[in-house]
């Protein structure tokens, strides 16, 4: 398939791996954070890390939108779902995320009307088909997903759908990156930038990482060769003493982003003063709430939301995993008490979560280095 097979070509991958080994300084240890959970998934699924030299370490960042939702917000969603007449809709991964009092799947089993959808538009269609019910969309995601929610709200307004609201948990990617860069227990050399967030916001929001913190950023695609080429571009920058924002994913990402998406986001949302991130605590101006102009679509105004705050389980080390301080297999409960079937932490729930990705594709022991079996030749 065009634009896919060529980016999974094993021969090209081996050649890139050789180039990476040639440009990496053997006397130095490199830590490169992939911000996006989609990259984490690719790295484990295709064994990208196994192709890198031992001194080039990939660190998994906070870019899984499901993984960063705090337990209290899940409990609030369950509280909304339990209200009479409500249909709560959400993406599939959110249904299994554990809150303090169970997950949405468990709430559904106990009688709440919780339905999985593939887009906010699907939720709007459910509202149009159930005029006597209140349909709430549990919105999660970064700048990649927020335009879809915003456009759906505009569509609900245009089509005069009054029984549709959104419980917004949309977050923005730059504030947590800045928080990570300010974290004293973190040492990173560079970032693999989130390719699809950049289709919306462009490259400009990431320039501060190079300018203020002197760390290279390479915006990357999601196929295995994209990630390998991005690692090579980063190592080349470091070898040449450069700190720039480069775009590996030029076939998709325009440098300036999508102006129409900016406009719709600015119209429908406004920044929250602060928002709690799982494992990272409260981060200023890191999340989106629905603008007062569209208050009639704000579930937090229409329903009684408890505003629960719950500390993360003590045994769970999702916070350290999300900050890249520890690897998934270094967590005390990884693969024992915490598995995809019975997750304790959110990193084990979503397929984009570092723990689930490692568990599903790496299992419980580190794989020996070698050629990944899933690459096509």
């Amino acid at each position: 398939m065009r634009f896919v097979d060529e980016f999974r070509n094993a021969e090209l991958g081996a050649r890139l791996a050789d180039q990476i080994s040639a440009v990496a300084d053997p006397s130095r240890h490199y830590k490169i954070m992939e911000v996006c959970g989609g990259h984490t998934h690719t790295i484990y699924r295709y064994g990208v890390a196994d192709l890198l030299p031992a001194n080039v370490e990939l660190v998994h960042g906070p870019g899984c939108p499901v993984c960063v939702i705090p337990m209290g917000r899940v409990d609030d969603a369950i509280a909304i779902a339990r209200q009479p007449g409500v249909i709560l809709t959400c993406f599939g991964d959110m249904m299994r995320v554990p809150g303090g009092k169970g997950s949405l799947t468990e709430a559904k089993a106990a009688g709440a009307d919780v339905r999985m959808v593939y887009s906010p538009l699907d939720a709007l269609r459910i509202a149009q088909a159930n005029r006597g019910r209140e349909v709430v969309f549990f919105a999660v995601g970064f700048e990649t997903t927020a335009p879809s929610t915003a456009l759906t709200i505009l569509r609900a307004q245009a089509e005069r759908v009054s029984n549709f609201t959104v419980y917004s948990n949309h977050v923005t990617i730059v504030p947590p990156i800045r928080a990570l860069l300010e974290s004293p227990d973190l040492r990173l050399d560079a970032f693999i930038g989130p390719g699809h967030v950049c289709t919306v916001v462009g490259a400009r929001p990431f320039h501060f990482i190079a300018a203020e913190y002197r760390k290279p950023v390479v915006i990357s695609g999601f196929e295995p060769l994209d990630v390998l080429q991005s690692a090579y571009m980063i190592l080349r920058q470091l070898a040449e003493g450069r700190c720039e924002v480069e775009n590996q994913y030029t076939r998709v990402v325009p440098a300036e982003g999508n102006a129409a998406a900016f406009r719709v986001l600015a119209d429908v949302f406004e920044l929250r003063p602060h928002f709690e991130w799982r494992g990272l605590g409260f981060i200023s101006q890191s999340a989106l709430k629905i603008s007062p102009k569209y208050a009639m679509f704000d579930a937090e105004l229409r329903f009684s939301v408890p505003g629960v705050r719950i500390a993360d389980p003590k045994a769970c080390q999702c916070g350290e995993v999300l900050k890249g301080v520890i690897k998934p297999w270094e967590c005390k409960v990884f693969g024992t008490a915490c598995t995809p079937e019975h997750p304790i932490g959110t990193c084990m729930v979503s397929s984009e979560g570092a723990c689930a990705a490692y568990y599903n594709f790496g299992r419980l022991t580190r794989r020996p280095r070698g050629r990944p079996a899933e690459m096509v030749s």
């Binding site: 634009f3 998934h41 499901v66 959110m94 080429q229 397929s351 984009e352």
Partner: protein
């Protein structure tokens, strides 16, 4: 119009909307006001897609879809491996 995807969000592949990742789809048809298209992915699965961010998308064009919105044309420039 009945368009439905049969993606299992709990399998090891990406759910089309759960992640921060977009899927390549081809536009099959566009509604009268150009707002919503029916798109198909490489496995033949169809879904409704909003075109507000890519008004230039027409039938036959490939778009990058995330959460029911076409974020970008899928091949803005040629690939680079």
């Amino acid at each position: 119009m009945t368009v439905r995807r049969d993606v299992d969000c709990e399998d090891l592949a990406h759910c089309i909307t759960c992640s921060d990742e977009a899927n390549r789809m081809r536009v099959l048809s566009v509604d009268a006001d150009g707002a919503i298209a029916v798109c198909v992915d490489d496995e033949g699965r169809q879904s409704e897609v909003m075109l507000a961010l890519t008004p230039e998308a027409k039938p036959g064009v490939e778009v990058l879809v995330h959460a029911g919105v076409a974020l970008s044309l899928a091949s803005r420039v040629e690939g680079n491996p």
